[in-house]
């Protein structure tokens, strides 16, 4: 605990800001029912009401409270993005480390398959798959995780390749250790820093990706509150000079910036970089 505090004290302002932002989102997501003044899907007033009492940020195109939707959006979109990135990492790291440790045809087969996946623009690929498979939440999660795992695979393989040639891995191989030990005990613990950093960035990308899909109508389906679809549904307000549709967009931007600040700091620390270099 004392170490964590010491670490935080040494963090630059950007990282502290990022941490505060993330913490804020987590609190909002966890306590959404307590914080939100209304329920998520309830129609409480007329459409497009202006800011004021009792609808602090007005209402949306169906007359639902904007603030409530924003708060629930944090919960839905963040949790969704988190699960998806976890899954993408599970797949990506597993196959990436396998490819790096085994090499040979396993590596060839996996890598060429990933090349094919990466050759298709992921948004188009996702639209295609979602049109075929439908847009229920589990399918959405698996499809996005599948697409993203190809990027994670690339990184995990590259990092593990550099570690797999080090002498201590050779020592383990010569000792007669199995693949499980070599990947789990020798390679994985030493490839964590870049992977953790990548996790932060990936989370942001997934987040934006979901929002983009929702904006196109293939993401999280109504009436579930989601920032991407909220931007789309209320976009007309912009023409009247009302900034309300920008709020969910702003919420996405703020979280992305916050996560990136923290990731930058983390990378900086683990890479042993200095400011004067």
């Amino acid at each position: 605990m004392a170490e964590v505090l010491k670490l935080l004290r040494s963090a630059p302002w950007s990282a502290r800001f990022g941490l505060v932002v993330i913490l804020f989102y987590v609190v909002v997501a966890v306590f959404a029912p307590v914080i939100a003044p209304f329920s998520e899907t309830e129609i409480v007033g007329a459409e497009f009401e202006p800011w004021g009492e009792p609808y602090l940020l007005g209402t949306d195109n169906l007359g639902r409270d904007m603030l409530t939707r924003l708060v629930y959006g944090a919960r839905n979109t963040c949790v969704f993005a988190f699960i998806t990135s976890c899954l993408a990492f599970l797949f990506g790291c597993f196959f990436g480390l396998m490819a790096a440790s085994l090499g040979g045809w396993v590596d060839q087969a996996l890598s060429r398959f990933v090349d094919v996946m990466m050759a298709l623009p992921s948004l188009i690929f996702a639209l295609l798959l979602l049109t075929i498979l439908g847009t229920s939440v589990p399918i959405l999660i698996v499809v996005i995780a599948f697409l993203d795992s190809s990027r994670v695979y690339r990184l995990a393989r590259a990092v593990a390749m550099n570690i797999a040639v080090l002498d201590f891995v050779e020592v383990a191989r010569l000792r007669g250790e199995g693949l499980g030990w070599i990947i789990g005990r020798e390679i994985l613990p030493n490839s964590m820093p870049p992977l953790v950093a990548e996790f932060g960035l990936r989370f942001c990308f997934v987040f934006l990706f979901i929002s983009a899909l929702s904006f196109l109508g293939l993401g999280i389906q109504p009436p579930t509150a989601d920032w991407g679809s909220m931007v789309r549904d209320n976009a007309t307000l912009i023409t009247y000079g009302d900034i309300t549709p920008l709020l969910p967009a702003g919420a996405i931007a703020l979280l992305t910036v916050g996560v990136n600040f923290v990731v930058d700091w983390f990378l900086h620390k683990t890479a042993g970089l200095r400011d004067d270099q």
Binding site: D167, F168, L174, R175, G176, R185, E186
Partner: protein, 552 residues
């Protein structure tokens, strides 16, 4: 450059004016967010045309001081006291542009690894011309003409055309000389040599040393020569400063210091290569522990790196394999361990033929043949504590439970002369020598019959290396293991081997008992290797070059 005060005559006599003077130099380095002093007030005086040797083990601050002579510190370091006056300019107070004008033009630097210091994308001669043109000293064509003269002076092959090659197209020793030439480009007043021969083979080291000695005297350049090898610096330096932990231990004229060292530490450094052990008599056992029969191996189908190599190792004996880099000695180790399955020949261990690849070998066969690596830094998993590193072979091969493991780890730590509480440390919290000891303990934990030591001391400071050699020797006496000792350092060979195998370009050129191989007449190549090992005698290099010139 003639306007800068006429430098005094050459070697040995009275030197000219003071060129560089450091007074009470203090340098701090940053670690864990706090500043630690790494150089504690060192005084240094260098006159024109004089060569000063800075010697000490790693962490002595010798490189830090050497670089400070250019008014520069490594990232994460800062000068926090004292003065560095170069020809009347205090570099601690001078602004960046003043220092930029000096660096490259009047003070030059030769780094340890020439390969890492050259830009691989440009030709040698372009990189040579960069500094003089940048400083406005010479035109590009004039600089190239100068380069050819210097290349010739430094005895590089084909001096007229070698400059048009890229760094990867010349050998390590040639590249190092090209770097010396580059440092000489502006005819500087001072050159800082930072371990320029440490990464080279002994035979190549001689060429570079001779070249440096020649040009430094020819152009009457003052030099600071940084090294951890007293025998090397003895060949070049007029004066030597011995450093330890950022303090000056002893300073004096080279000859008088070698003849009468005043401090105990200097005496230890002088005695460093004197450790000797008598050859153990051959046992003529049948079958021998390890028999390598006519092994050939290659990387890919074309590049043969081992050809028809046969070596025999008997129980409780040490076989040393010597040769320059590229001689195939490490490949021999890889062929024996099965990392590189040989395509011809067999490896017999305890009378039975081992499968060529380690993947097909049984757990027991793997256990009996252990390996210790050159770089203890990468041979230990940085995320595993010492108790796990040593404990793993105990659990894996011998099936010990946690309690038995703990007990055994203690015993092993005692054997390698490290305190018990080291069991909880991570490799990052150990010094180089301690890490190597842990690697030894890990090998011993498997209770092997044979340990292959691949250059185990070459990454260590000399005093530490000697401790490791003594430890290995003691362990052999106690545990009756055999060693296959791969090294390029003949001093190590002399110290601990019973039998010597000399390798050249993938073939064995000579092998036999230690006394037999080390007593003349030698094979031509063995002779070259043996005579290239630097000795503490300051006249050694001159005598050797004279002798070789007379013969050749």
């Amino acid at each position: 450059m003639t306007s800068k005060g006429k430098a005094a005559n050459g070697h040995g006599g009275a030197k000219g004016d003071i060129l560089l003077e450091m007074r009470g130099l203090r340098i701090e380095g940053q670690a864990d967010e706090t500043w630690h002093e790494i150089v504690h007030g060192v005084d240094l005086t260098l006159r024109r045309g004089e060569v000063l040797g800075l010697i000490g083990e790693s962490g002595a601050g010798k490189s830090t001081i050497g670089i400070a002579a250019m008014g520069y510190t490594r990232p994460g370091c800062r000068i926090n006291g004292g003065s560095i006056v170069f020809d009347g300019i205090d570099l601690t107070k001078a602004d960046e542009s003043t220092k930029r004008r000096l660096r490259g033009a009047r003070i030059a630097y030769v780094a340890q690894s020439a390969a890492a210091s050259f830009n691989p994308a440009h030709k040698l001669i372009q990189q040579f011309a960069e500094a003089p043109v940048q400083h406005g000293k010479l035109s590009a064509s004039q600089a190239e003409k100068d380069a050819k003269v210097l290349y010739k002076r430094l005895q590089l092959p084909n001096p007229d055309t070698i400059g048009s090659r890229y760094p990867h197209q010349v050998s390590g020793g040639q590249l190092q000389r090209a770097m010396v030439a580059m440092a000489m480009a502006c005819k500087p007043d001072l050159i800082v040599f930072d371990e320029p021969t440490t990464a080279l083979d002994v035979t190549t080291q001689i060429e570079v040393l001779a070249a440096i000695k020649d040009v430094v005297h020819q152009f009457n350049t003052a030099a600071i020569y940084i090294t951890h090898d007293l025998a090397v610096v003895a060949q070049l330096a007029d004066r030597i400063m011995v450093l330890r932990y950022g303090d000056l231990v002893e300073e004096g004229e080279t000859r008088s210091m070698l003849a009468q060292p005043k401090q105990e530490y200097t005496r230890q450094l002088l005695a460093v290569r004197s450790y000797r052990r008598d050859e153990a008599p051959p046992t003529h056992e049948d079958p021998p522990l390890l028999e390598v029969n006519n092994v050939s191996a290659s990387y890919g189908p074309l590049i043969k790196v081992l050809e028809d190599v046969s070596v025999t190792i008997e129980r409780k004996r040490t076989v040393a394999v010597v040769g320059e880099s590229g001689s195939g000695k490490s490949t021999l180790a890889r062929a024996i361990t099965g990392l590189l399955p040989p395509f011809e020949g067999t490896v017999k261990f305890r009378g039975e033929t081992l499968p060529p690849s380690y993947k097909q070998r049984s757990k027991d066969q793997l256990r009996r043949l252990q390996m210790i690596y050159q770089m203890p830094d990468v041979a230990l998993n940085p995320k595993q504590r010492v108790r796990d590193v040593i404990g793993r072979p105990l659990a894996f091969y011998l099936g010990m439970d946690e309690k038995a493991r703990k007990q055994r780890v203690r015993e092993l730590l005692e054997m390698i002369e490290l305190p018990m509480d080291f069991a909880e440390r991570l490799p990052g919290e150990l010094s180089g020598g301690q890490k190597q000891r842990i690697c030894i303990a890990r090998a011993l934990a498997a209770e092997p019959d044979l340990i292959i030591c691949d250059e185990v001391t070459s990454a260590l400071d000399q005093l530490v290396a000697e401790e490791i050699l003594k430890l290995l020797q003691r362990l052999q006496d106690e545990l009756e293991v055999s060693y296959l000792f791969i090294t390029h350092d003949l001093a190590t060979v002399r110290a601990i081997s019973d039998q010597i195998v000399v390798m050249l370009r993938g073939r064995v050129v000579e092998q036999g008992g230690k006394t037999e191989v080390l007593t003349p007449p030698h094979h031509e190549y063995t002779d070259l290797l043996l005579s290239s090992v630097p000795e503490m005698d300051p006249d050694w290099l001159d005598n050797l070059l004279e002798k070789r010139a007379a013969v050749g």
